[in-house]
Amino acid sequence: MDLKFLASDRVEAFVSHLMQQKTVYAPQHTGKHSVALEKVDDPAAVILDYGRTMQSVKKFFLPPRDELLSFDLTDHSFTPAAVEPLDAILLGIHSYDRAAIDRLDYNFSQGHPEKNYLTRREGVVWVGVSFEPDEFHFSGSVGISPHETAGFDAFLTRVREGYLVEVLTDAGRELVSGFELPPAERPKPAPGHFHQHIFLPQAKLNEVMAASYNNEIWAEMAEKCVGCGSCNIVCPTCYCFNVEENVDITVTGGTRERIWDGCMLREFTEVAGGEVFRGGLAERQRHRVMRKFKYLSDKTGHPWCVGCGRCTAYCTAGISIVSIVNRCVSDFEERHTTAM
């Protein structure tokens, strides 16, 4: 691997170089402590050393509000919404968020491939950056290293004096061409250590979760959970949506939009007539966690949780997904030890 070096004092120039090629989206401060992925206007505003953004890159391909069509109530005709490829450079993306996009790609490509999402996905050049695991990250437990380069065109690994640059694809080569990067004088360092761990290899989790369906943890979490759906809304692999009609004030037309929805909300499974199929918070917590660690992983062989820590970091009730899974693991192991 050809490893180059980008000195800290040249990062701004590097961002400018990227901006000359395509629109760049990168992490920037939106408040004193909050960092969000936004369009870059000022290369100096880009922050490559950050914990996590509240929203992942999902928002670019599956926007929180996404118009599907506009309708005319006078003649009941409709016009499909125009959907454009993002066609941009996504800079400073963490490995778990790139892994989450693989999962969304799967969802929107399998069975009936969906034009809206797949069109937006086109033309993206991915530039990753390593991260230093904080008190919430646990992607190492689901097989995603802070240095994982899969899916990226180029990857920046943070070292004291700047970044080591790996060019991984032709698109990545094109991106850095014309910008002088000297060869790195040292190899890639070892990734940072995680402070949060699931105490079982990912391959064995399916078995544990299958045996945890009736665990008391779900009822215990229901005591704490307020059912606000924040965990769904910040999750980079949650893709569920609802469809709504918005009628103009003139009542002559409007739009049909899909909006993010969450399985933690009571209305999520409600059908006409009032039947709610997952009425209890315990069932909803179980569904959320099982979806990440069992239902979708059984289908695809990959956990649907990428260990970003968002659902825990932003939980309004202090619920930790790592604690839930570890409780399932320890109860499982205890039962098996007792059985022997």
């Binding site: 009936h112 491939p113 469809v243 499974t269 007539g273 569904h287």
Partner: protein, 283 residues
């Protein structure tokens, strides 16, 4: 396995655009239920299987899944039996012949007719569950030689709420149909059976070796019907069940209809009962 190895190679599609279709007839079935006859542009065939559903929408109001009530043997138009229970269905109740509705579909896994052919077909429908089952009933009646006996058990809350009363009268007359009906509460005029639907099952004349059964009704009905069928000795493999969920997109994307690992809009709404046993949330 890599995630992208299992994805479809089909071209991406516009999945959420409705086909504007004409309402040809509107027929009141009861105070709450209406039967709509709908035609796709150019009289195009819907191409559905009994048990499948379509997404019906009215601009400015919304879109929801409804099961198809007509048999695919009757081509050119299709029928939807819809109960007035919410905003969209109230709006649908105002439709007149000539009005347009948006249609997407057909969606879902319907009844596997190959498994039913040559067999005695037992249909257990509770309340509005008769709407999708009518598709299967009329399919069997239209292709009578391909099936054995047709046995129908229909339960309704009251005799005023009975659906398709003229067709029921015809099924009762038809010597080729073994039809049973009961109501939970009968009016003074009601001369038929009174009791829940499970009371019909012990008295049925069944050839257990050649019977397949399809059950559709309100969620509360399934456990009791299953118990009654089991006590008659009908094997689990002979039982199919149609489930209701909130299929918002119909194409396995929106997540609303998920029951454990299964998406009702993809694996259902008609499930083979042995497959349902691994879905703890199904009933």
């Amino acid at each position: 396995m890599k995630l992208n190895e299992s994805v479809s190679t089909q071209e991406p599609q516009d999945l959420y655009l409705p086909v504007m279709s004409e309402v040809l007839e509107v027929k009141r079935l009861t105070e709450l239920e209406t039967l709509y006859t709908v035609q796709l542009p150019g009289g195009r065939d819907l191409g559905h299987q009994p048990g499948q559903f379509v997404e019906v929408s009215v601009f400015g109001v919304g879109e929801a899944p409804f099961s198809i009530s007509s048999s695919p043997t009757r081509q050119g138009v299709f029928e939807l039996g819809i109960r007035r229970v919410g905003l969209l269905t109230e709006k649908l109740a105002e439709l007149k012949p000539g009005d347009k509705v948006g249609i997407r579909g057909p969606f879902g896994h319907g009844i596997d007719l190959e498994k039913f052919k040559g067999k005695d077909v037992l249909i257990i429908a509770g309340g509005i569950g008769l709407v999708p089952m009518r598709s299967l009933i009329n399919y069997v009646l239209d292709r009578r030689d391909e099936f054995g006996r047709l046995i129908i058990c229909y339960g309704s809350r009251s005799d005023q709420e009975l659906l398709f009363t003229d067709e029921i009268a015809a099924w009762q007359e038809d010597p080729d149909v073994d039809f049973h009906v009961t109501v939970d509460r009968g009016s003074p005029q009601w001369e038929g059976k009174v009791g829940v639907i499970t009371t019909l099952i012990p008295g049925l004349d069944l050839d257990l070796d050649r019977t397949v059964c399809c059950v559709c009704g309100p969620p509360v009905m399934y456990r009791f019907v299953l118990l009654a069928l089991k006590s008659r000795g009908l094997p689990d493999e002979a039982i199919y069940m149609s489930l209701e969920r909130r299929m918002k997109c119909g194409v396995g994307k929106c997540g609303h209809c998920q029951i454990n690992h299964s998406y009702v809009c993809q694996d259902g709404p008609v499930y083979h009962y042995p497959d349902l046993k691994s879905l703890e949330e199904a009933l």
